[in-house]
């Protein structure tokens, strides 16, 4: 394991570098193919509005994956993430244009334990609104 952040370097409250991601319809198609989740609410406006959504929405699992990138980039090893839990609060609506939606990920150390693990509390927003009502990752520090 090659996590680059050592327990001695972090404290409760240590902030992770913020990340901003753009999500377009093309990204949703690509994620559908890679993940095998072809639910039409992620690519078809007609179906999305029929089930009461404002329009096509991003896969919750894509938002979850984007949020994890802030953690793995910081810790330096995707294999150091041992526990990851999110609660989907509100959908990320992805307009049919070239700009798409913006997803902003902020994180800070919420807790440290004696086994060299840190709990990262993430705040994930789109258009200024929280899209994950809970997002916590536990990482093994170096």
């Amino acid at each position: 394991m090659t996590a680059t952040v050592r327990a001695a370097d972090v404290a409760v409250g240590t902030e992770l570098p913020e990340q901003t991601h753009r999500v377009t319809r093309a990204d949703l198609v690509r994620y559908a193919g890679a993940s095998g989740d072809f639910n039409p609410i992620h690519w078809n406006d007609r179906v999305a509005t029929e089930v009461g959504l404002p329009g096509v929405i991003a896969h919750g699992m894509l938002t979850m994956a984007l949020a994890a990138r802030a953690v793995t980039a910081w810790i330096g090893d995707p294999g150091a993430l041992v526990e990851y839990h999110v609660r989907f609060g509100r959908p990320v609506v992805v307009p049919d244009d070239d700009t798409g939606a913006e997803v902003v990920v902020r994180g800070k150390v919420g807790a440290l334990d004696d086994d060299g693990r840190a709990r990262i509390d993430l705040t994930v927003t789109s258009g200024g609104e929280k899209v994950l009502s809970l997002a916590r990752a536990t990482v093994r520090l170096a």
């Binding site: 193919g33 699992m61 995707p78 294999g79 526990e83 999110v86």
Partner: protein, 148 residues
């Protein structure tokens, strides 16, 4: 229609073997915009202490989503899938999934609840190698919104 509480604890037969390929890991990493070489380059992954390229932390959904299909198809699980949204997701990793892994996924119904007219179904999928080494667990909570 409320879900039958006696479903809690119901387990399903293990899935067929899913063999993790380097190209699939690279495809998934590209789809989430992740450029770390440990997902693409076996030498970089080895230099980082892994036996082969490793998968991003949410990659397990590729196999656990389809494995959980047996729960969806269980006629005893009376959930209106037209009204389902993904409520929560959790991954517990014993180690990173890596290229060459031959994985088996075993779903279990962990909880059923009814809250404010919505049906909540929590399914856990345990992923292990075909030799029985635990790799990860993926827990998904689905919400079927009440018809109002």
């Amino acid at each position: 229609m409320a879900l039958d509480p006696t479903l809690v604890g119901r387990s399903y037969p293990p899935s067929a073997v899913y063999e993790v390929g380097r190209e699939k890991i690279a495809e998934f990493a590209a789809a989430i915009g992740e450029s770390s070489p440990v997902h693409r380059d076996a030498d970089a992954a080895r230099a980082a202490g892994h036996p082969d390229v490793i998968a991003p932390p949410t990659f397990a959904i590729v196999l656990t989503l389809s494995a959980a299909g047996v729960v969806v198809e269980d006629p005893d699980v009376d959930l209106d899938y037209g009204r389902v949204v993904h409520g929560e997701q959790r991954f517990t990793h014993h180690r990173a999934i890596r290229a060459g892994d031959r994985l088996i996924a075993t779903p279990t119904i962990e909880a059923v609840r009814s809250v404010a007219g919505n049906d909540l179904l929590t399914t856990r999928v345990d992923v292990a190698t075909e030799d029985g080494e635990p790799v990860c667990s993926a827990t998904s909570m689905l919400v079927a919104r009440g018809a109002g």
